[in-house]
């Protein structure tokens, strides 16, 4: 088993021997979701999580901003264990975008500006327009009712909503899987541009080889909650990928282990 630890580099996330299990129901044994996952994400780097459904990709992502509480192991964010962060502050700095875009009642502006009471946020007109521009949306959308947007627009508004908070890292849970191919391509384009433009660290769960290729960084292959392979894409052209399943995946033949 390989893992993605590389302590010499400047890391935004350091995940060490992370395990997650849910308590069993009615005398059932606990359900193991993740076992002993170790991986690093460089500051400004990218990591894509791939693997069959149910392999724990999304759970790993949700451990990074502490929506899930690991049963064992540690996660460090920006040099500090995430248990030492106020979870709310951590989640503003490591912003999660969900698979199905959740927009709240009101306009696009209302959605971008939404925040907990007492939290400072720059929501000046200029900033909102700029942020919409960053995700490739027109500023005139600001006063549109959020429910009237297309799927692709909704997903980009949720990304913009994360960006308004000026995060250090963006966590994306299958950002393109609910979208049709043209919209998915636009979102892939947006995300890869953001990594360059903002020096954002990005961790993305995906089934899309296109997103992996465009994002670069590193690739972590999970099966049944364990790391099967870890490959760096930045230093290596596609040809030098060792793991054959990942080679095939990147060539677009099939998702890695479409079945477990």
């Amino acid at each position: 088993m390989q893992d993605g630890a590389s302590p010499a580099r400047d890391s935004i996330f350091q995940v060490e021997r992370l395990s997650l299990a849910y308590p069993g129901r009615r005398g059932q044994p606990p359900a193991s979701i993740l076992s002993g996952v170790t991986v690093d994400v460089e500051r400004g780097g990218a990591l894509t999580l791939v693997g069959p459904s149910g392999s724990g990709k999304s759970s790993l992502l949700r451990c990074l901003n502490r929506l899930e509480e690991p049963t064992a192991g540690t996660v460090r964010f920006d040099g500090r264990a995430i248990t030492e962060w106020d979870p709310r502050e951590l989640r503003r700095r490591a912003a999660l975008v969900l698979q199905t875009p959740v927009l709240f009642e009101g306009t696009v502006r209302d959605n971008l500006c939404i925040r907990a009471a007492g939290v400072a946020l720059d929501v000046s007109e200029r900033r909102l327009c700029e942020t919409l521009g960053e995700v490739g949306l027109d500023a005139e959308l600001l006063d549109r009712d959020a429910t009237t947007l297309s799927g692709g627009e909704k997903q980009r508004v949720t990304i913009a909503r994360a960006l308004v908070r000026d995060p250090q890292a963006l966590l994306l849970d299958e950002p393109t899987s609910a979208l049709d191919p043209p919209n998915a391509a636009l979102v892939v384009e947006t995300i890869s541009r953001l990594r360059q433009a903002r020096r954002l660290s990005i961790v993305a769960v995906t089934h899309s080889p296109e997103l992996v290729r465009r994002l670069g960084g590193a690739l972590l292959y999970l099966v049944k909650g364990r790391v099967q392979a870890y490959e760096r894409l930045d230093d290596a052209p596609d040809g030098s990928i060792v793991d054959q399943r990942l080679q095939a995946f990147l060539a677009g033949d099939h998702p890695p282990g479409g079945s477990a």
Partner: protein, 261 residues
């Protein structure tokens, strides 16, 4: 006014005969309710007879500790009824329901008994027990409605809650819209009831008082008290229940316990 027309066993038997009509309808329409109906009829007779015997004994004994014991049993039964229909178990929900029902009943009851009705002595079982029963019954129904709605919403709107958490909201803030929806759902029947009270049907207690020979003008005064106390019992009961129950789904680190959904 004259006394009450007492019902003989024969007359009771005739009333029970009505259940036979329901059984016949159930059989004819293949509703499959015949067994439950018969069990229900038998339980109605036995439970009410037992309650009648116990109440008669407590009224004659007139001791505060018997009244207290009865109140405790009532809270216990109401607690069980409020949580037993939840789709999924919530850890510690019995204590939560017992606390919510006890507090809402105690608060409403002390106000109504202490300031409004003022029987002598204040624990006079003839007043305390039926009034407590009505308060508890409303609290129980509304807590059950609120709990049911909360549980269904937490499962159906989980992504919305997690989206708020991911934006840096606290756990309580993230579930606030769901809490509000549950409270509304639990209070709507009471509010609707206040709108039509007396117009569609005479409330049970008022009917009882009129049948027992009270003047309708006395009966409606009691009914006004009852409607008000039921409204406040609904509000306090479901508010406490939902606020405490939603806490079971949240962790101090502002997470949702997904395995409970």
């Amino acid at each position: 006014m004259s006394g009450v027309v007492d019902l003989s066993f024969w007359e009771l038997g005739l009333a029970l005969l009505l259940v036979a009509v329901v059984v016949a309808i159930s059989a004819k329409q293949a509703l499959g309710l015949e067994r439950d109906l018969l069990v229900g009829a038998v339980r109605t007779v036995i439970q009410l007879y037992l309650v009648g015997l116990i109440l008669a004994a407590v009224f004659t004994a007139a001791r505060w500790y018997w009244v207290l014991l009865i109140l405790c049993v009532m809270v216990g039964v109401a607690t069980h009824a409020a949580v037993s229909r939840l789709a999924k178990p919530i850890p510690g929900i019995y204590w939560i329901a017992a606390a919510a029902l006890s507090v809402s009943t105690a608060a409403t009851l002390s106000y109504v008994i202490g300031l409004v009705v003022r029987p002598q002595p204040w624990w006079e079982p003839q007043y305390l027990i039926p009034i407590a029963g009505m308060i508890l019954g409303t609290s129980m129904t509304s807590a059950a409605l609120a709990g049911d709605r909360l549980q269904a919403d937490l499962a159906a709107r989980r992504e919305e809650v997690e989206a708020r958490l991911a934006l840096g909201f606290s756990g309580r803030e993230a579930v606030q819209p769901l809490v509000r929806a549950s409270l509304r759902a639990s209070m709507i029947p009471t509010v609707n009831g206040m709108m039509t009270v007396g117009l569609v049907q005479l409330p049970g207690m008022m009917t009882g008082q009129i049948l027992a020979g009270s003047s309708p003008l006395v009966a409606i005064r009691y009914q006004i008290v009852v409607v008000c106390m039921q409204a406040v019992a609904t509000a306090i009961g479901s508010l406490l229940f939902v606020r405490l129950a939603v806490g079971r789904y949240l962790t101090p680190a502002h997470q949702v316990r997904r395995y409970l959904l």
